[in-house]
Amino acid sequence: MKTLAELVEIRDRMKEKVALREGLGDKRIVVGMATCGIAAGARPVLNTFVSAINESGLSGTVSVTQTGCIGICQYEPVVEVFEKGKDKVTYVKMTADKVARIVEEHIKGGKPVKEFTIGEVK
C-alpha cells in the first residue's frame, strides 16, 4: 500500500458491499415472493431491483427484500415501496422491464410511477 488514495478506493468499493448489513434503509422495496408471486415471475423482478439499486449506488439507503403473499394473487408480481413518513406505494403485475423507470422516477426522483400502481393497472 503506497498511498492513502489506494486504501480509500478499496474502502469505498467494499463499503457498498457491507452496506447490506446496515439493516433496512429509509426506503424499502418489498417484492411479494409467495408461491403466487414466484409463479407469476417475481424472481427476475427482485433480481433486477437488486442490480438496479446497486448500480445506481443507492444500496446504503434503499433495501430490497421479499415478503410473503399480500393477498392479491391475481395482480402478482406485486412490489411495494415503503418510505418513512409516506404512504406505501403498491406496484402490480410487475415485470423486469418496469424496474428501471421505478428506480429512476420513484426511488431517485421521489415521484411514484402512477401508471404501474394498483389503481391504474387493469
Binding site: M1, L4, M14, K15, L20, R21, T67
Partner: protein
Amino acid sequence: MIRSHILICGGTGCTSSGSLAIKDALALELKAKGLEDEIKIVMTGCFGLCALGPIIIVYPDGTFYSRVTVSDLSEIVEEHLLKGRIVKRLVYNDTVEEVDDGTHVSLNDTVFYKKQKRVALRNCGYINPESIEEYIGMDGYMALGKVLTEMSPAQVIQVMKDSGLRGRGGGGFPTGMKWDFAVKSVSDKKYVVCNADEGDPGAFMDRSILEGDPHAVIEAMAIAGYAIGADEGYIYVRAEYPIAIKRLTIAIAQAREMGLLGEDIFSSGFNFDIQLRFGAGAFVCGEETALLTSIEGNRGEPRPRPPFPAVKGLFGQPTIINNVETYANIPQIILKGASWFASMGTEKSKGTKVFALGGKITHTGLVEIPMGTTLREIVEEIGGGVPNGKKFKAAQTGGPSGGCIPASNIDTPIDYDNLLAIGSMMGSGGLIVLDEDNCMVDIAKFFLEFTVDESCGKCTPCRIGTRRMLEILEKITNGNGTLEDLDKLEELAHHIRATSLCGLGQTSPNPILSTLRYFRDEYIAHVVEKRCPAGVCKNLVSYEVVPENCKGCTACKRACPVNAISGEVKQVHIIDKVKCIKCGVCVTKCKFNAIIRK
C-alpha cells in the same frame, strides 16, 4: 447480484455448537435452490449471545435465528430466502414483536444489545474476519494511514493520553503513559508486543476479538510501532486458541500482501512486521515479564520490575506490551478522536469494557458496556438475570486475581477504581455470576487450586504460601477448621500479597480476602457450626428424611446408587448416613419434599 447476506457466527462458542456444519449444509441448500448467486454466506466472529448458538443473521432485514440446526436450513431457505416469510419458531424471542409492515424489532433494540456500546467488538459478528477487504470496508487501516501520513509520533501519543485509555488486561495502566515511557527510552531497536495469553477461567474476550476482528489488533500494533519507533511486533497467543491463531495467520499474510505490513508503508518510510508466538497454556505467561521471557525462548518465569518493559523489555530492549482489547480500541480512537473516546465512561475510566458473562446467568456470552454501567444492569438487564428463580448472591470478577462483588454492592458503577475500592478488580473481564447455591468458601478454594497449579515456583511466597492457604481452605471445607485458621488465612494472605514477585502471587489472596470480607458468616458457619449454608461442601452436608412428609413411595430408595436408603412401601424411609455419598439424587427424585439437605 447479491441481494442478501447470511452471517453465521464462526466464533468458538457457535463453532462448538455446530456452526461449521451449518455453513456447509446451507451452501448446498442454496445451490439446490439456485440461489447461490443471490445470497452470500459470511462467516463472522462472535455476536455475543453464545448461550443461543449456533446463531445466524439474515441481512438486509436483520432476522436473528438462534439455536439453528442443519435440519432447519431447508425451511429457512425455502420460506425466508425464497419467499420472504420469516421462520418465526427459530427467531430469537426478544426480536419477535411484529410492527406494522412485517419488519421486526432490530437486534440493537433487544435487551441484550440495547445497553451495549460496541467499540472493541464493533466488527465482531459483522464482518468476515478472514477478509481484509471487509475490514477495510469498515474504515480498516484508515487510522494507520492517517497516522503515517498526517501525524507525528508525539501527536499519536498525545491522542492516546488525551483519550484516557487504560490497559484492558486488568491492571488499568494508562496506555499513553506507557507508550511515552517507551519513547523516552533511547534505543535503536524497540518492540511492540500484544498479550493474547488470556488465561482466567471463564474469560474469552480477547479470544473473541482475535477471532472476530484480527486486523484491528494488527493495525493498532503498527500504530504503536510508529508512535514509539519500533519496527517489529510479536503477538503472544495461547496455543489453545486454534481459531484465533488461524485467523491471525491469515490476517497477517493479507496485510503483508497489501503492503500494510512490511517496508515503507504508505510511502512513509515506516517499516513494521508482526510475528506470532504460541504460549503453551501457562497462566503465569499472561504476566508481562514472564510473557517476554517466554518469547525469548526461555521458561516462562517473571522477573522483578523495575526495570519495566518500557525501559528494558524483550531481548533487553524497550518494549510496550498491551492487551488485545486495548489494541482493538486504538484505531477508532485515532479516527474518531480522543474526545469521542473520553466522552464515554466515568471520570477516571474512559471508554467501554468487554465482559465475558458466565456462571448462573441466562444470557451467557460476551457483552461490551460503557464504563460506569452498574452490575445490576449487566446481570439483570443485559444478562437476563439469574435463571431458575434463584437469588443473585455475588459476581466474581477478575478471575483468580479478583474478588467477589456481593449483592449489597450490585449498584456500584463498574470501573477500575470502584472495583478496587470494594476489594475486587476489573481483571481482564471475566464475570462469573454466583447464586444462592454457590458456597463462597468453595469458590475461594476453586481459585486457590487454580493458582497453586499455575504458580511457576520461582518465588517462595507464591510457591509455598498459596499451597498453605489452600490447605487451610480444605481444612475448613472438610469441617476441621478453627476460628484461629481464619486469622492465619488473613495474615498469610497479606504477607503473600506484599512479598510475591509478580502479579500472579500478589493477587492470589484476593479471592480469599474478598470472600472473607463479605461472606465471613459463611466461613464461620463452616468452622463453628460445621455447616455449609449453600450445601456444597460434601463433608458438611447430610441428608435426612422428614418423617411427616414421607409417603413411602420408594422413589428415593430405588434411585440411591449406594443403597443407603431403607424402608418398606408406605412406610417412612431412613437414610444411612454412613453409607450415603451425598450425591443428592434422592432429593431430586422425591416429589413430596420429604428429604432435606442440612
